[in-house]
């Protein structure tokens, strides 16, 4: 159960209109009301951006932070709560202590929160940041919007089950700087492990949804594969420079790739607004992770049946944009050459992107927004399987073949369009 609930922490709705309203609101909405100074509110606003609170606590087209985004799970729907200062339907009656307990420990005044709220990561947030965040949250105009957060089926609707889950899987330890490492790396670790809660998606979970020791090694959630961020060149960030990481988190694109899926929203709402120093810190942290050895499979031979068919399809369907040799266009169209995302052990994201397409990132640094078009209506399961198998075993890549049945299952699971001819 909890594993699936954790999956729902992904923002599965692409909400194109949100960026503008969010930016506008965050730029103009904050006025200190009680307690916090302007500077503190401003710091808190930044903490909220880094924590990407808006992403879940705003419904598509809804008022900022007034809740209402449905996180769909196989057990029912969890809806993000109203965290505006409305006393009746929001958190206007809370104290800072109650707020702190909810954010860092998953306990609201009257109930246990589901770990769809990433308190397992937010527990790392410092007291100072919590205080600033609270000062900012207090400035959010009250919006009366009653949200029924728990629409799960029995027995998952019994929140006290979370007592046990927390005992097993919730590491309550605060963030402790590692004095053997630079202040920059420590700042990066704090952001990655805490506010940005990267592990919520990128760390493999155990059967109960708790984090495994495979930290940032990539995992599948809701039709996507959140890629390996560990330090290896085959599937991880080993081939990216610190600048590549900074550029990606700032622009949504870099010389290698362009973001897709839920990460695009994270970049648009959160990381693009971080300071240069914080992005550099995040990059330094990832570059400081120990080298990880992954087993690189032998690529399939070019004479393989799927490979030959895939090569033909690639020339027809893919080469115009990704270029004949797969090099792509920097800051726009991902290169397919020696691409760690292409080498991912699990092809969920690749299948998803081909079937449904994906919006291009639209950021201040790169507003282009070049999208990957959907091929679900056009290509049969075997064609997609062949293309992906070919890409995953040519151009410097090596990864298991994609089966026709993989694509068929994904087409159903993510509700992709059926082919319009036979």
């Amino acid at each position: 159960m909890a594993r699936n609930l954790l999956r729902t922490a992904l923002r599965t709705c692409m909400r194109g209109g949100l960026l503008l309203s969010a930016v506008t609101f965050l730029a103009h909405g904050a006025k200190a009301q009680d307690g916090g100074t302007d500077a503190q509110v401003e710091r808190g606003r930044y903490v909220a951006i880094a924590g990407d609170c808006l992403a879940c606590h705003t419904a598509p087209g809804g008022k900022p932070f007034a809740g209402g985004l449905d996180l769909k799970t196989p057990f029912g729907i969890i809806t993000a709560s109203n965290i505006t200062s409305d006393r009746e339907t929001g958190i206007g009656s809370w104290t800072q202590q109650q707020f702190e307990r909810a954010v860092r420990h998953g306990r609201s005044p009257d109930r246990y929160l589901y770990p769809a709220m990433p308190y397992t990561a937010y527990v790392k947030i410092t007291d100072a940041d919590i205080a600033d965040l609270w000062a900012y949250i207090r400035t959010i105009p009250a919006v009366s919007n009653r949200v029924v957060t728990n629409r799960l089926r029995f027995p998952y609707n019994i929140r006290t089950l979370l007592i046990g889950w927390n005992m097993l899987f919730f590491d309550r330890s605060a963030f402790t700087p590692d004095t053997s490492r630079s202040a920059q790396v420590n700042r990066g670790a704090y952001l990655v492990e805490g506010l940005e809660h990267c592990g919520t998606c990128h760390t493999t979970k155990n059967a109960f949804g708790g984090d495994t020791r495979a930290t940032y090694q990539g995992t599948s959630l809701q039709g996507w594969y959140a890629p390996d961020l560990s330090n290896n060149t085959h599937t991880g960030l080993g081939g990216w420079s610190a600048d590549d990481i900074v550029t990606y988190l700032r622009a949504g694109t870099n010389r290698h790739t362009a973001s897709s899926g839920p990460m695009t929203e994270t970049i648009e709402n959160s990381t693009q607004h971080l300071t240069e120093a914080d992005l550099q810190a995040i990059a330094a942290y990832f570059k400081s992770l120990p080298q990880r050895t992954v087993t690189v499979p032998a690529p399939l031979r070019a004479s393989n049946r799927q490979m030959m068919a895939g090569a033909r399809e690639f020339a027809v369907q893919c080469s115009a944009c990704h270029v004949s040799n797969g090099a792509g266009i920097a800051n726009m169209i991902p290169t397919l050459q020696s691409n760690p995302a292409v080498n991912a052990p699990n092809p969920d994201s690749l299948i998803n992107i081909v079937l449904r397409g994906t919006d291009g990132p639209v950021t201040t640094a790169n507003p282009t927004g070049a999208a990957m078009p959907s091929f679900g209506w056009k290509l049969h399961d075997d064609q997609i399987a062949n293309i992906l198998t070919y890409i995953r075993n040519s151009m410097g890549n090596a990864a298991p073949a994609v089966l026709t049945s993989d694509v068929g299952r994904a087409r159903k699971a993510i509700d992709a369009q059926q082919v319009v001819w036979h």
């Binding site: 960026l19 503008l20 930016v23 506008t24 694109t253 369907q317 115009a320 944009c321 266009i329 920097a330 800051n331 726009m332 169209i333 397409g357 919006d359 291009g360 639209v362 201040t364 640094a365 790169n366 507003p367 282009t368 927004g369 070049a370 999208a371 078009p373 959907s374 091929f375 209506w377 056009k378």
Partner: protein, 591 residues
């Protein structure tokens, strides 16, 4: 239901190249801008996805991307005294019908005009005298020179990512470029396109004849490029679906690719789509514009008040809007007085058509503006003494078509018209057909003008615009001269069958295949309110807060395509509004 929208600082009518360029400048200056566009929203990735194969039948043949004449059209006649009839099919007018305007579906030729083209009157008077002009020809300077416009040409190219090979940079000749061009301050943003086989044959023949071939500057991007607004463009793939198609490959400069993604991020910008502006509103004394009135897609009448009104619609509609709004004095052909609708020009086309015997021209690899040109007979680049005309043409090998339906009729003379013989002839003809276009100048004439039609009305009950146009003697003389040059080069290229044509030898018709789509003038800019509607900043002489931008401001047409000049003059006017007008609203030119 009638309604009034909140007042804006600026209302822009039409969101094509000129409207979006202006909107970008003015929103960046902090103004609240509302653009009203007749067509629907179009987005590069979702409206023109590369997964969809373009369809020649719906695109090139049925022209689905254009505004259909059944919705709104123009009436046409050749001369005063005739009854004008509505155009029932757009053959050589290509009106956009979407956000991005004609800039979405254009072919992409991206020219700066010659210094001569901006000051034709001064130049001709100085070099030849008034005797060079045929009777009735209208020739006047723009009030803005090439040198004035150079920084804005430069900026627009860097928005568009124009590909090409520079000919003159800071006065220095550059190898491979156009030696006749006005001096540039920087090279083209992206390198010139690869030449087609036909382009190569043309360049070789032109060189042997002593001419100076160069690649035509193009909206098809020559290399990955980050434009002046921070948007990324991808290099062209030569798929050949440019003219009458939107580019989903981010490879053809358009408002949709080069400007709108940035504009749409700005909270002080609003676009209202599928609303047609029917009138510019003014104060009763007609000294100040107060906004515009539009009809929305539900048939409701809306009003958009604004402090500044900018109309950036299709050339002909700019003129029509002024006439419908009673702004400035309409041109009267009998007396030659009045200005709105005066100085209307088209384009004088000549052609050389040719067939080779055993070539492989591979025309399927093309772009809308894949061309190699000589300017040896363009503008005033050659001595016109004794020729009896002014102007000329850019003469180009144009590789802009390779689609099967369009090519099906292009067979050598004497080919079978059906069956196996036709198929064989088509197979051979497809690889052996080439063309040379002479894209000629057009100068205004006192009997070429635009006014409101006395008979035909649009769906809102407003009079259609009437075009009174025929080629004048200057066109006929220059057209034949250029046709002969096209034929000369075609022969030198080694073609076995060569034909030539000068369209100006026949009366103008809107239905001529292969004809130009360029119309200019009607709301021209200039130095004298008796012969121009607007001053050198495209500001109305009478209504100081009205700016009409686009090719309607050009008193003459050059031997080129007009889009980049539209961009440059728009940027020029935007700077005047930003730096001069906002500080001191009122006439920017006082006489």
């Amino acid at each position: 239901m009638n309604y009034k929208r909140p007042k804006a600082d600026v209302v822009i009518v039409g969101l094509g190249w000129s409207g979006s360029t202006m909107a970008e400048e003015l929103t960046r200056a902090g103004l609240k801008v509302v653009a009203i566009e007749r067509g629907a929203w179009r987005d590069t990735s979702t409206s023109f996805p590369t997964t969809r194969d373009p369809d020649e039948l719906s695109g090139s043949v049925r022209k689905d991307i254009l505004q259909a004449p059944v919705t709104e059209t123009y009436t046409v006649r050749n001369k005063v005294g005739q009854t004008a009839l509505p155009m029932r099919k757009y053959h050589n007018l290509t009106l956009g019908n979407n956000v991005g305007g004609a800039g979405t579906h254009w072919a992409g030729a991206s020219w700066r005009w010659l210094p001569f083209d901006h000051q034709p009157y001064s130049h001709v008077m100085q070099r030849y005298g008034a005797g060079q002009l045929v009777d009735g020809l209208i020739l006047q300077d723009w009030g803005v020179t090439y040198n004035d416009l150079e920084p804005f040409y430069d900026r627009f190219e860097k928005i568009a990512g124009t590909s090409g090979t520079a000919g003159v940079i800071n006065g220095q000749r550059q190898p491979g470029g156009n030696p006749f061009e006005g001096s540039r301050t920087s090279p083209y943003p992206t390198p010139a396109l690869e030449r087609s086989r036909a382009n190569v044959l043309f360049a070789e023949a032109a060189t042997r004849l002593g001419y100076h071939p160069f690649p035509v500057p193009s909206a098809m991007i020559g290399a990955p490029y980050k434009n002046a607004l921070g948007l990324n463009l991808a290099p062209c793939t030569y798929c050949g679906y440019c003219q009458l198609y939107g580019c989903g490959n981010w490879s053809k400069s358009s408002p949709n690719i080069c400007i709108l993604p940035v504009l749409m991020q700005r909270p002080n910008f609003t676009v209202v789509t599928e609303c047609e502006v029917i009138r510019i509103n003014t104060t009763p004394d007609r000294k100040t514009a107060t906004g515009v009135t539009f009809v929305d897609s539900d048939g409701n009448i809306g009003e958009q008040p604004a402090d500044i009104v900018i109309t950036a619609t299709f050339t002909l509609d700019n003129t029509r809007l002024l006439l419908l709004s009673g702004i400035s004095t309409p041109y009267d052909v009998a007396s030659g007085q009045g200005v709105v609708g005066r100085a209307f020009t088209f384009q004088t086309l000549s052609w050389g058509f040719m067939f080779f015997e055993n070539e492989y021209l591979n025309p399927f690899m093309n772009t809308g503006a894949l061309a190699t040109q000589i300017d040896d007979f363009n503008g005033d680049n050659f001595d016109h003494t004794g020729l009896g005309f002014i102007g000329g043409a850019g003469i180009q090998s144009l590789s802009n078509q390779g689609l099967p339906i369009g090519m099906a009729g292009l067979l050598p003379q004497g080919s079978p018209q059906w069956g196996k013989g036709w198929k064989q002839a088509f197979r051979k003809g497809y690889q052996n057909y080439a063309q040379i276009q002479g894209q000629g100048t057009s100068f205004a004439h006192r009997e070429q003008f635009l006014d409101l039609d006395p008979t035909y009305k649009d769906r809102f009950g407003q009079p259609l615009l009437r075009i009174t146009f025929d080629y004048n003697e200057n066109d006929r003389r220059s057209g034949r001269f250029i046709r002969d040059k096209c034929v000369e080069i075609a022969r030198e290229m080694g073609a076995t069958q060569v034909g030539g044509d000068s369209f100006a030898d026949r009366p103008y018709s809107g239905y001529t295949p292969w004809d130009s789509s360029h119309v200019q003038g009607g709301v021209v800019m200039g130095e004298d309110p008796r012969t121009s509607v607007q001053n050198r900043f495209q500001q109305n002489w009478d209504v100081h807060n009205l700016f009409v931008i686009g090719a309607s401001s050009f008193p003459n047409n050059a031997g080129y395509n007009p889009t980049v000049v539209v961009g440059a003059t728009t940027l020029w006017t935007a700077k005047a509004i930003r730096d001069l007008y906002l500080k001191n609203p009122g006439p920017l030119v006082r006489l």
